[in-house]
Amino acid sequence: MSGIYVYSDNFGLSAALLSLAAQSGEEVCAITLDQDQADELVNYGADRLLVLKGDSPRPESYAKVIAELLKKENAELFLVGSTARGRELAAKTAGYLDCGMVSDAASLVFEVGKIVTTRLMYGGSVVQTEIINSLTVVTVPVGKFEAAKNESKKGVISSLEVKADQRVNIIETSPIKKEGIDLAAADKVVCIGMGLDKPEDIQIAQDLAQVLGAEIGCTRGIAEERHWLPVQSYIGISGANVKPSLYISMGVSGQVQHVVGIRDSRIIAAVDSNDKAPIFKAADYGIVGDLYEIIPLLTEALRNA
């Protein structure tokens, strides 16, 4: 077995996966569907770049083709960027190969003769460590690994004519408006939860955010059930990961699926009326109290600080 194959529909993630794969010392091959991407990726340390030329714009439709390729090449690892398209492609490829799959690896270390991965289970309460010693598909989330240019090595680009699965076809796509927030990059985050009564009350959080120079984030229910904020605003296992210097929450109970998205914060502060709320176990500083009383006082105190 030899060779690590890498694919992502997200360019930055492809580059990061190539840098990760390069740590193995094995031959690394980037798969792309796009000649321009191959030309760019050449600078990130791949030995080979393989452009799949097929008849579908959907990456997901190449799972069977990629499975056949990996088998033929006797690949040892297929690293896939964990985007919606990437995850589906990865899981179908693993299904066609009847091989193992590690979804959303939190870490991946190459050791002699094996690869050790960790991932989170039960919403983030448990870390599962697995050892890989045969062909496995691993998906890697955005932001876990850094891309590093390696211009000393120029990969060889080749292309391959392939047949995609034609049974799913795109009818239309409409872009989701990104409303100018990049929570992952925010230095401070004010997070609101279901403890807020009405949409107008978001103003309380906005006032605090303004004095702190913070972005506003929220829990899943605020975005997906109440639709008070855009879906990019929610933090957690199925939403954004944040790593600010300060995360401060109000009316957020702190269920593990949310907390998993804030663990990389430097300081976590929480305001909640329930002294048993799990958020206090995840926080550095907690205030047990009514957010409608505490937050305006805090905003005022910070303004004068």
């Binding site: 398209r85 066609y96 799959m101 959303d104 049974r167 989701i176 907690g286 205030i287 109290g289």
Partner: protein, 258 residues
């Protein structure tokens, strides 16, 4: 009338996890539940079957403990519950689960639509749905926020990172749903009583031409430990709200945040 199959997993409730002093995880006291988002998959199956005149059924691969899930699942509206009863479900990885489920679906026959949730509450691996599709060599559409069946095709809206995509796929197909697809109602008393009278069918691995060795994990499990988060856990204890706020501000200053 074809089958519309909703796959659900009977999982340990993460709220009941106990962490031992050595950081090992004790699941023995945890109550079971239908994986949260699988309730959305069941509801989607029931709704679509109403429109097409097909039959919504449920399918689960679980150990003896999962037997109690059948009534809960059927109280949500499906007409029949299928249960692959095997202790191997407790350690099954995504490969094993999708292999067993695909084999059961073949055995059940005459299916047009298979619904899974995007991810299960315990693993959140988001791989079993597409894995089933690959093993049946039928199409798959993941990240679904809505869908509609017309004749031999299904039209699905998908939520991707930067766009909403509408695709059409040939039936039969696996659709993996996101929770925003619907709001599953809490079953009423009558639905719960009726569920006890609905037919259920128990399948064994042997009936599916599989053995425990076919289901051996593909990776070697080395650790399963509680995640440790080291935080200061200071609850500010001032007498008044103003005092607490003052303490928080002082601490944020000390930390160099403000």
């Amino acid at each position: 009338m074809a089958k519309i199959i909703a796959c659900y997993k009977w999982v340990a409730d993460e709220a009941d996890l106990r962490i031992n002093a050595d950081m090992s995880v004790d699941l023995s006291k945890a109550k079971g539940k239908i994986s949260d988002y699988d309730k959305n998959a069941i509801e989607a199956a029931v709704q679509v079957a109403k429109g097409t005149g097909d039959t919504a059924v449920t399918l689960t691969f679980g150990s003896g403990k999962a037997k109690q899930s059948l009534k809960d699942a059927l109280s949500r509206g499906p007409a029949e519950g299928f249960w692959i009863n095997s202790g191997s479900a407790e350690k099954a990885d995504g490969a094993a689960s999708s292999k067993v489920l695909a084999a059961a679906i073949k055995e059940m026959g005459d299916y047009k639509l298979i619904l899974c949730a995007e991810g299960a509450s315990d693993t959140f691996a988001r791989q079993v749905g597409p894995g089933i599709a690959a093993r049946l060599d039928i199409p798959c559409v993941s990240s679904a926020t809505g869908f509609e069946v017309n004749g031999n095709t299904v039209t699905v809206s998908r939520k991707l990172e930067d766009c909403v995509e509408v695709v059409a796929a040939d039936l039969p197909v696996v659709v993996c749903v996101l929770p925003e697809i619907n709001q599953p109602p809490i079953p009423g008393l009558k639905a719960v009583l009726d569920a006890g009278k609905k037919p259920t069918r128990e399948l064994r691995l042997e009936d599916l031409g599989l053995s425990e060795t076919d289901l051996a994990a593909k990776t070697e499990l080395q650790g399963f430990e509680a995640y440790v988060m080291n935080r200061k856990n200071v609850i500010l204890s001032g007498d008044s709200a103003a005092d607490k706020v003052k303490e928080l501000v002082a601490n944020l200053k000390k930390e160099g945040i403000i």
